[in-house]
Each structure stands twice: as C-alpha cells, then as structure tokens.
Amino acid sequence: MIRLTILLIFIVINGSYARQIGETEIISEEGIEVFQEQKFYLLKKNVIITSDNLKLSGDEVKIYFENDLYDIKKIEAFNNVIFESSSYGLSARGEKIFFELDEEIIIINGVKSILDTKDVIMKSNNEIVVNNTNGKFSLKGSNSSLKTETIYLKGEKIDGIFDTSTNIKDIIRLDVFDENISYLKTNNTEMFANRINYNKDTSIMELKDNVKISRDGEIVTGDYGTMNTLTQSYKVKSNNANKVKVIISNKNE
C-alpha cells in the first residue's frame, strides 16, 4: 500500500511537468543560465528540445527570446547538433546549427554539415545557409554539394534561389564557383567549369573558364559554354578560336 502511494505521488509529481500536446520541452543535464536583460538563456550539456513536430539535440544551446522565455526568436545549437522535423520532412546535422525563426533561416556550420529536405540534399564542410522566406540558399567550403531529383552539383561556393511559390523546392537561380573546378551533372550530361550559372527564366546554363561538357562519350572543352536545359543543346566557345576541342569516344559505338 505504501509503495503504491509513493508510486502514485511520483507519477503525479512527474506528470505535472511532463510535456503536453502543443508544448515544447527542453531538457539539459548541467543547468540553464537565464540572462534577462540580454534576453537569452543558455542550456548546458546534452540538451534535447522536443515539440510536436521537431526534435533538436546538441551539447549546448543558446535561445534568444523577444519578451518572455517562450517567445523564441533565435536558437543557436553547438557541438554535434542533430535536428529533425518529421512534419516538414527536414533533417540537419552539423557542429553548429542556428535558426532565425521569424525569417525562417537555418544556418549549419562545420565539417560534414548536412541539410536534407524532401526535395534537396545539401552537404558542406563549412557552411549551409537556407532562407525559407525568400528561397535564397548558400553553401561554402570544400566538398559543398547539392542534390535534387534532376541534378547533382559540387563546388566550393554554391549560391542559389529556390522557388518559394510551390511546395517543391525548384531551383530558379544558381551560381556555382570553385577555384579548382565546379561540377554539375544532369540526367545524361556532365559539366565542369570554374563557374556555372543557371537561370530558370532563360533555361540557360552558363559555364565559364576551364569548361568541359561530357555527354554520351562526347567531350567538348573550351573557355565558355552554354547549355539550354529545355532543348538539352549546348555550345562551347574559346577565347582562342583554335582552342575548342572535341573528343568522341568509340566505347558506345
């Protein structure tokens, strides 16, 4: 009887501070520091944030608020950060992850940073920035890459804009740069250049410096190239008229 009473008291006490539907629960192992004037609180060691549609874990988390503690403006999570949102089909990993809630900006920093949405997978060894409000995204650092259903691209710096008018993350602008070489692959074409630009309005992909286009065993090299993504036709030019080179492989014949 006594044991049952103790158990009931324990359940009631714990239950009164357990997360209910619609609430957010934050657990930290080594306490919280609240800075009221600076309007942020710092959660230390093995921090886990759980709400109905997201889960965030990290070793240290700094939460900025507007007026009260619940009124969250910005979240900065440090050290082995994992973020998952099943309802938005979104997951992210990085050494640091920052969220700007009003502007819907996510910034992921560190080696092997990943942002995985339903339509796009972004990877970088330095920084991934996505603004969900205006659709702008940016990847910086070695081995930065972006993969959608139709394209795969790699470069040291990738800037672009998603179409925010639809649910599908369609790329409408793209600017890829790599001092060594940028790489872009569509269904049947591989493209290399120091700089690759894409504009959906014109459906033209523009390649600058050290251009190489490879398709069905045909390799064309030059200084400047364009590819029409609708017709799949491409042109390659060179500053020096004699420099454009075409290699046709026999392996498919």
């Binding site: 501070y17 997360r19 609430e23 957010t24 629960e25 306490g31 520091e33 609240v34 009221q36 619940y70």
Partner: protein, 149 residues
Amino acid sequence: MNSILSLNKNFVLYLIFLIFILFCFFFSFKFYNKLKNDFTEKKIEVSNVDITEPKFAINSLSQKITITAREGNFIDNDKILLQRNVMFESDKFKIETDKVTFNRREQTAESNNKSIFTSNKTIISSEGFNIYDNGNKIQFYGKSKVILK
C-alpha cells in the same frame, strides 16, 4: 450470605479513595508533562528562528524581486538562511523552493534544493538556482527541464 456484604466498609472506602488519588496523580502528572513539553517546544522554536515571515527585495533598474519565506536565520551579517515556502516574485517570474541563502549586501540568492520557476507560459524545474547581477541573471543548477506552453 452475600460475600460482598461480608467486606469491611472502611476497607472499601479506603480503596476507592486510594484509586481516586492515583487517578488524580496520574492525570496531574500527564498535564504537567504536556505543559512542560509545550513550553520546551515554544522555547526551541523561538531559539531556532531569528526572523519569522522574513521579507526582502532585490532591486534593479528593470525589476524588483520580492523574497518571502516562513523562517529566516542569520548565518553572518549579510547572509540569511531562508527556509520553508521560500518565494521569489517579480512582475516577470516566480521561483518556489524550500531553502535559500540570501546575501543582503550582494543582493544574491542561492539554493541547492529543488526549485520551480514559473513565468508567462514557461515552467523551469531544476535542482537549485543562483540569482545574481541584481536579479538580471538566474542560473539553474543540475538536471533542468523547461516547458514552454
């Protein structure tokens, strides 16, 4: 003849009187003991508590935090140990716990007991806390849980 009638009347009277005296003595002794215990308890209570229902405040430019408790004991000139139903209350938040050391000079308060912080749509449970920098900063100790509504 009935055997009761054969008893000595005087003997019976003496016996009743003796029992009565014993009863009186017993109850007097109990009453005396109770009085003595009450007096001792009161004496102990008075001697253990320096301040009953103490009330202090931490003042800053942005807020005033009122501190109340059932009991308070001076640890030294500045430090006071507040016990039982200790409550910190300001316009923005409330903290409840059972034991806090309040420093009047430094305007700080520290507790190593389980504490509950409540503010607008927020509950923080922790294993203690430290209020410093005139109440601007609050550090919650140990395994802590925040519920945002």
